[in-house]
Symmetry: C2
Subunit: 188 residues, 2 copies
């Protein structure tokens, strides 16, 4: 199989399950955010924001509200029970989170959010910054604190929470998932 | 700003508007498809397929059906008129298209499709293969030929068209779009 620097980065990227407290260098975070805004999007609408959150109190508040809301939504009850019984940190102790809100009036914006979040994960991996794309904290935007978080994170009007990417230094490495080549189909 | 091989690839990637007839080397296509299945997805569900289409007749059929359907959907009428009046090639003459159908029962699958399509675009750029992520051919899956295309492309049950990535050699290069750094917000 062909290989080069970037293919190696794509291959080595993994969803980090444990971060150290230490914030990655500012220059790295800036380079990662720049890669995000270089992403393609439908008709180049760029229907997202790249919101870099390093405010520890705000991250804790969001984590707590996510857990509280999970307890109230039947679909999340199973995961909630795991979090409570294991004391697992929902944001894996990450010191930085890039939140990607999206324009809810753009029918392609969820695809575009996915695209930009992978730019972030790939750029991070290339700088040996660990990442984890998450969606679970969407529930923090479904309760009575929704308006508060949207204001804190400066969501534009009509924007909703899409995805978030946790960033930091890995406290423990994890092997990337084994790629399932059977999901590739050739119609030639 | 920090730079490395991968950040340069992310920066140089552009949505190609004109491909040559020539199919990129098989080894490159395989490496690109492998990068796609290495992508992260919600709970690692991998709710997509990576369907590599190099059948010219099938690509033409899909292009023609897309144009025909565009003429029938009011939202696409303006773009349809442009295509007809300019004779523009909707698939930009690309010799290869990776279609990404997604599991319509997975609420995060559109995000995951976006993530995988950016893996494809980035891997391609690293190999100097040009790319263009498109969604317009979704309309070919909205008319009477929907079942035909789904069968030809081996969509699993309950899968719908998500995105497609055109691949090939660039007949003309285009500058990447200027990144809009104002879309980056720091909440620190």
């Amino acid at each position: 199989m062909m290989i080069n620097e970037t293919l190696k980065v794509l291959e080595e990227r993994f969803s980090c399950g444990a971060f150290t407290d230490e914030l990655p260098e500012k220059e790295k975070i800036e380079a990662i955010a720049k890669a995000a805004v270089e992403s393609p999007s439908g008709t180049n609408a760029q229907p997202w924001r790249i919101t870099v959150v390093t405010d520890k109190d705000l991250l804790s508040e969001m984590e707590n509200e996510t857990i509280r809301m999970m307890s109230q939504i039947p679909a999340y009850k199973g995961f909630y029970d795991v979090v409570i019984s294991t004391g697992m940190k929902l944001f894996y102790n990450a010191p930085c989170m890039i939140v990607l809100p999206y324009d809810a009036q753009d029918p392609y914006a969820k695809f575009d959010c996915g695209i930009a979040s992978q730019s972030i994960a790939v750029a991070a991996q290339s700088l040996r910054v660990a990442s984890h794309i998450i969606a679970i904290n969407e529930v923090a935007f479904m309760g009575e604190k929704a308006a508060y978080f949207k204001e804190k994170l400066q969501f534009p009007e009509n924007y909703e929470f899409g995805l978030a990417v946790l960033l930091g230094n890995a406290a423990a490495t994890k092997a990337p998932h084994q790629p399932d080549l059977e999901k590739i189909i050739y119609v030639g």
